[in-house]
């Protein structure tokens, strides 16, 4: 155990001495999330909207005024009927349509639950859609609470129904953050572990380690442990940024989310070990990680391209991409707030994959190093 600790300590020395890698490790997720955040705020100044006012009452007009004077929205079209909505979106200019149903003002004045404003957003631009509906919702809620009699808390809510016209599944920040998480975890765990093991082989120090009384398992786990820790911290940072900066809800259990993150990190590490059993140089390890792991993860996990719109063959391939299940799990926990009772399937798949990969890499390792 003492020997093992000496080994782990040395690994940490390597990592801490290598400032550049450390910077990339922690800077990258931060930069990605921040960049994404900025792209968001840039897009929502003066977003073009259309209004379908079937009410023509005082409240519908006032709310429209509020929206337009907020600075976020710019009215470019007044619609007359529901059938105008689709074409308005199609032409691609309108980002949001606000619909006031008939008798809205009456319902509103009665403080009726029936009072509904419908917000329809163009979800093909996923990120914008989310922020626009958020802003509009805030403005309408503010109006509502101002109108309530002083001293009483507004008992009833305007029911804002953001409906995603083109993309009912709501992509965007909600997919982006789990996607970045999957990517960063893979990158840190798989790439870093396989590269450091390859480095020891390349330098010749691996031989010296193998001659020492350290067992093969101790060497492997000594390599893996520091990166498990780093990846996990990174995962937590991304979750925190997503929640506090991008306003992604955390509806489910934080504990479950962390446990799943740990599971995915472990899986990535097994992948890294597997690569290191094949790669004898740092360069090979790097390329194997980037080509075999990162590319499929980016393109096939649903992170950038929705899986439903992929060719059938690629849809099939996406089933063996671990990140797909991880993204599904994170989305489920954070946004839908569901628990293990509904997520046991992808969780079990990830568990199975890790066990399989770990077994294969441990089996492969001995003969490779013994060559």
């Amino acid at each position: 155990m003492k020997r093992f600790l000496a080994f782990v300590k040395k690994e940490f020395f390597h990592i801490l001495r290598d400032r550049r890698t450390l910077l990339i490790l922690f800077g990258m997720p931060l930069a990605m999330v921040l960049l994404f955040g900025f792209a968001l705020t840039n897009e929502i100044k003066n977003a073009k909207i259309a209004v379908l006012d079937l009410d023509h009452g005082p409240h519908s007009r006032q709310i429209t005024d509020r929206l337009l004077s907020s600075g976020y929205f710019q009215l470019i079209q007044n619609l007359n009927a529901s059938r105008d909505i689709e074409p308005a979106f199609r032409r691609g200019k309108v980002k949001l349509v606000v619909v006031f149903p008939p008798n809205f003002s009456q319902d509103f004045a009665r403080n009726d639950t029936e009072a509904q404003v419908q917000l329809l957003a163009d979800a093909s631009e996923q990120n914008t859609a989310i922020s626009l509906t958020n802003y509009a919702t805030n403005i309408i809620q503010n109006y509502k609470s101002e109108q309530a009699p002083p001293g009483t808390v507004a008992p009833m809510q305007i029911d804002v129904q953001p409906r995603m016209v083109f993309n009912p599944e709501l992509r965007g920040a909600f997919v982006f953050v789990p996607g970045v998480m999957a990517m960063v975890l893979l990158l840190v765990s798989a790439l870093m572990t396989s590269v450091t093991i390859a480095r020891e082989k390349e330098m010749g120090t691996m031989e010296v380690l193998m001659v020492s009384p350290l067992s093969q398992l101790q060497i492997l786990f000594g390599k893996v442990l520091p990166y498990l820790l780093l990846s996990f911290i990174n995962g937590c940072v991304i979750i925190a940024l997503g929640v506090f900066l991008l306003g992604i809800p955390l509806n489910g259990s934080l504990l479950l989310l962390l446990a799943e993150t740990l599971l995915f990190t472990f899986l990535s590490l097994s992948l890294g070990l597997l690569i290191s059993t094949i790669a004898d140089t740092q360069l090979v390890a790097m390329f194997a990680s980037l080509l075999v792991l990162l590319m499929p993860t980016i393109f096939l996990s649903g992170f950038i391209f929705p899986i439903e719109s992929m060719p059938r063959f690629l849809q099939f391939v996406s089933n063996i991409i671990p990140a797909k299940y991880f993204i599904e799990i994170v989305k489920g926990i954070m946004i839908k707030g569901i628990g293990l009772d509904l997520l046991w399937k992808p969780t079990l798949l990830l568990l199975g994959m890790s066990a399989f990969l770990m077994a294969v890499s441990l089996r492969n390792l001995k003969p490779r190093l013994n060559q």
Partner: protein
């Protein structure tokens, strides 16, 4: 047990290629045993089998009295190894390297402290103890690597071309360290292709194409082949030509 290393018809094949061909020899305790041969003769392969890095194809071998097939763990505790590539971590400091290797050999904290202090003092590395190893000259690195390979007081230390790439004077300094260790009872098993180093060994074996062609003291070898330097012996054996 009075032999540090014994082999009997030890053979390693890579596919059809026989890298080490039925080599048989013994190394006495405290001896400086030189393992000579041209590049590709099979020196590293033989050494790697003795260190437990390679499984022999056939034959027998013991190190420090333990069998290489069945008792690799006992062997590992009792040997030191300097690979033909550099065996220290360039991105760690001198002190960190010493502590790391001491740590994986299970030295206690107190032992680590006295060991690193004495290594640093003996090598005159006080001023660079906290500098990264990559900043040291090659000759210093080699001597440090040797001291580190001895940190757990092994019975046998295997040195695979430990002085590659440095001038004869620096090599001589390295050999002073080797004599010192041998004097303290450590068996030295060293491969080299520098013939000046061959002269420093108690006994040398000369390997050609995987086989041991000659094995004796340098003096005896020179007498047998009627030449006045180890280089001459080597020329006759390795190139099949007369050294004179």
């Amino acid at each position: 047990m009075d032999k540090a290393v014994t082999t009997h018809k030890l053979t390693k094949k890579f596919g059809d290629f026989v890298a080490t061909d039925e080599i048989t020899f013994e190394v006495a305790q405290g001896e400086i045993f030189g393992f000579l041969g041209a590049n590709g003769a099979g020196k590293t392969t033989a050494m790697r089998m003795l260190c437990g890095l390679l499984t022999p194809t056939s034959g027998e071998a013991t190190v420090a009295g333990y069998d290489v097939y069945t008792q690799p763990e006992q062997i590992k505790q009792r040997i030191g190894y300097m690979s033909q590539r550099f065996s220290l971590y360039e991105d760690l400091t001198v002190r960190d390297n010493i502590r790391f290797y001491g740590g994986i050999y299970g030295l206690s904290r107190a032992e680590l402290k006295t060991k690193s202090a004495s290594i640093i003092r003996e090598l005159g590395l006080d001023s660079v103890a906290d500098a990264l190893v990559e900043s040291l000259p090659l000759g210093w690195k080699q001597r440090l690597a040797f001291s580190v390979a001895l940190i757990h007081d092994p019975k046998v230390v295997f040195l695979d071309e430990p002085t590659g790439g440095v001038d004869p004077i620096t090599r001589r300094q390295f050999w002073d360290k080797i004599y010192e260790a041998a004097h303290n009872g450590t068996t030295i098993f060293v491969t080299t292709h520098y013939m000046d180093e061959a002269e420093y060994c108690d006994r040398v074996s000369i390997m050609v194409d995987g086989r041991i062609k000659a094995l004796d003291t340098p003096t005896e070898l020179k007498r047998t082949y009627g030449v006045d330097s180890m280089d001459g012996v080597f020329q006759i054996l390795a190139r099949g030509t007369s050294g004179k």
